[in-house]
């Protein structure tokens, strides 16, 4: 089940490189550099240094005692990626890739962002390493997340609003790819999730695997065993694959939770693995939300970070092999979990991570008290309080 390095970029039939010819030399150069540096002692030491001293690793594995007692089933642990610098797991990947870009002597970094978390993490890593960065962001997202746009500017990045199509994450990726095609010689594209053409999915997974590796060793220390289950939210799927991959060969149940939005029977969700079909987008073969003809559909989630019509190819592979169970959680259930965790544990989770929390609340009782479940809390929810407030006010109005 564990594919250490995908041959020809393929996880089973998924992944690969469906890209314009201009980008072929660029991804080949990237792969070569990645293979050279990923086991290089100095590179690893430098990355470890930044992860530890700058980003704040390792993150705690916190026993959520109150939540565990309230639900009454398995012991629930939280992997606190929300405590990282920048407030999300994204920095694990941006530090790794920005360092690689520097080794490759690239002069300019571009990235896409949806809600702004990856944009902020890119801006931070680039500022720390002294690299100029430019961020593409759908115009609609720049309006929804004005504060994050300002944060990126403060961190020295320029933000380009994308006017194409639905003006969200999907379009931001399109535009970043177009920029990359145009400036291929000088520019490094710092992709934010485990998606895109090979080697991005495997590289992002490797940089995020620090999450699962820490879970493994921390659980061995605390509980003297590996976790019985791990749960993570899945948009593109980088925090989830980073959680799952180091545990794939273990006897751990795995749950990847997608955004069920207003219900996967409606048109308003982003549950790609639960409701999608196979197709080709953004350089990879994977599950997609698309119509009968192959046109990509608009997606919805209360959590902007999950609002994407594709998913990392390794997740598609793990779904078809049934190693991971992929399920979905609705906007409403995610909001409820957000409120529950805030109230009982004093932790405000990102709405993305709230999907994983909601699923844990749902299944914890099916486990015995001697079992342990780990939820990857991929980010903190300060960015979401306004969205939640509006959602709650709207519901009060609707009930009146």
């Amino acid at each position: 089940m564990k594919i250490k390095y995908p041959k020809a970029g393929k996880f089973g039939e998924f992944g690969g490189r469906y890209i314009p010819e201009t980008l072929v030399p660029a991804v080949e150069e990237l792969e070569e550099a990645y293979l050279k540096f990923k086991n290089d002692k100095d590179f690893k030491n430098e990355l470890d240094y930044y992860l530890r001293e700058y980003a704040g690793r390792p993150t705690p594995l916190y026993f959520a005692k109150n939540l565990t007692e309230k639900i009454g089933g398995a012991k629930i642990y939280l992997k606190r990626e929300d405590l990282l610098h920048g407030g999300a797991h994204k920095i694990n990947n941006t530090l790794g890739q920005a360092l690689l870009a520097k080794k490759m002597k690239k002069k300019r970094i571009i990235a896409e962002t949806g809600a702004g978390q990856h944009g902020v993490a890119t801006a931070m890593a680039c500022a720390a390493l002294g690299l100029p960065s430019e961020i593409y962001m759908g115009y609609k997202d720049t309006q929804r997340q004005k504060l994050n746009v300002f944060r990126m500017n403060l961190l020295g990045s320029s933000v380009h609003p994308v006017m194409e199509g639905t003006q969200t994450l999907k379009n931001a990726i399109n535009e970043a790819i177009r920029d990359w095609i145009t400036n291929v010689k000088t520019t490094y594209y710092l992709l934010g999730s485990a998606v895109g053409p090979h080697p991005y999915p495997v590289m992002v997974r490797d940089f995020q695997s620090v999450i699962g590796n820490e879970i493994k060793s921390q659980m061995k220390e605390i509980e003297k065993k590996i976790p019985d289950a791990v749960i993570a939210c899945v948009g593109g799927g980088s925090n989830a694959i980073g959680t799952f991959y180091p545990l794939l060969d273990e006897d751990t149940e795995m749950f990847g939770i997608e955004a069920g939005g207003e219900g996967i029977e409606t048109d308003h969700h982003s549950a790609t693995l639960n409701a999608g079909s196979k197709g080709v987008l953004h350089g990879m073969l994977t599950y997609l939300l698309q119509d009968r003809e192959g046109q990509i559909l608009d997606t919805h989630s209360i959590a902007a970070g999950l609002d994407y019509p594709g998913v990392g190819p390794e997740h598609s592979y793990l779904k078809d092999n049934k190693r991971v169970k992929y399920d979905s959680v609705s906007d409403q259930n995610a909001i409820d979990a957000f409120l529950t965790l805030a109230k009982y544990e004093g932790i405000i989770p990102a709405l993305e991570s709230s999907h994983a929390v909601a699923y844990a609340i749902k299944i914890a009782r099916k486990f015995s008290k001697s079992n342990s479940i780990v939820i990857t809390l991929s980010g903190r929810g300060d960015k979401d309080v306004e969205v939640v407030e509006n959602y709650l006010n709207q519901n009060v109005k609707n009930k009146k």
Binding site: P20, V24, N174, I181, G279, E293
Partner: protein
């Protein structure tokens, strides 16, 4: 013999180069596309490329993005596209090339899609996001349906890779002239001139070389022909023109512009 190959042989005997014109099917609407194609035929285009719009055209610049978006909004889909092709086939015998993105073929199944398009009258296919490493099933379907597979190369494609691409290409080889997306207006770059020269040497007459992306007027077209292009491919410039025209003027104005482009492909 393939219609496209035939066309190049015919032009060679007349000492002409090819003018390949691209329009987006369903833009500004179905009738508008038909008028544009009538204009292209009248003006003397040699090969017509028809774009089947995709929701996420990542190799395209703003002009084709916008045209694709509008065409999709107005309801273009595969069955409407195929009936449009059939209508065009009744009016012209010119080679027709379908340009779209891989997902639309993958979703139907390569063989089913290509066979449907062939039956409607399409002769060749261009997929800007199809790399040769992923093209196994696609090429099988191309051969089975006796279609041409037109691949793209770029100024940064290595000589070794160009040879590999040529070995699976038929019809013509599409040389992307600039680093960028379609319709990028730029001064002529030395690297483009070098790319034409090097590709010509490598290809050694095995397949015609079409140069496209960012060519927008007869002067540029003439220059690239002088540098060795066997065909000039123009797309965004036609769409920019269509954008400005009332429906009734599309045919005549497109014919006029086409004539000015075709003129430079005929050696004096």
């Amino acid at each position: 013999m393939s219609k496209i190959k035939n066309k190049f042989l015919e032009l060679k005997s007349k000492k002409q180069k090819a003018l390949i014109a691209y329009v987006v099917a369903g833009y500004p609407n179905e009738n508008g596309t038909l008028s544009a194609i009538r204009g292209l035929v009248k003006g003397g285009a040699d090969i017509i490329e028809l774009g089947l719009p995709f929701s996420d055209p990542l190799a395209d610049g703003p002009v084709i993005q916008n045209a694709s978006y509008i065409a999709l909004q107005k309801g273009i889909n595969l069955s409407k596209f195929l009936s449009l092709v059939k209508k065009i086939r009744k009016e012209t015998d010119l080679p027709l090339v379908l340009m779209t993105y891989t997902n639309l073929l993958y979703k139907q199944g390569y063989d089913k899609f290509i066979s449907l398009a062939r039956k409607a009258g399409i002769n060749g296919f261009i997929l800007p996001d199809m790399a040769i490493e992923e093209a196994g099933e696609y090429l099988k379907a191309i051969r089975k349906n006796k279609a041409d597979s037109i691949f793209l190369i770029s100024p940064n494609t290595s000589p070794k890779r160009i040879k590999k691409i040529v070995s699976v290409s038929s019809g013509f080889l599409y040389l992307v002239s600039v680093f960028g997306t379609t319709g990028k207006k730029e001064k002529i770059q030395q690297y483009t001139i070098d790319a034409i020269k090097n590709t010509k040497k490598l290809v050694d007459g095995k397949i015609p070389i079409g140069v496209g992306f960012g060519i927008s007027n007869p002067k540029q077209a003439k220059f690239f022909i002088k540098k060795g292009a066997d065909a000039i491919i123009i797309g965004s410039a036609f769409l920019r023109l269509i954008e400005k025209l009332p429906q009734k003027d599309i045919e005549t104005k497109i014919a006029q512009f086409t004539r000015s482009l075709k003129a430079v492909t005929i050696s004096q």
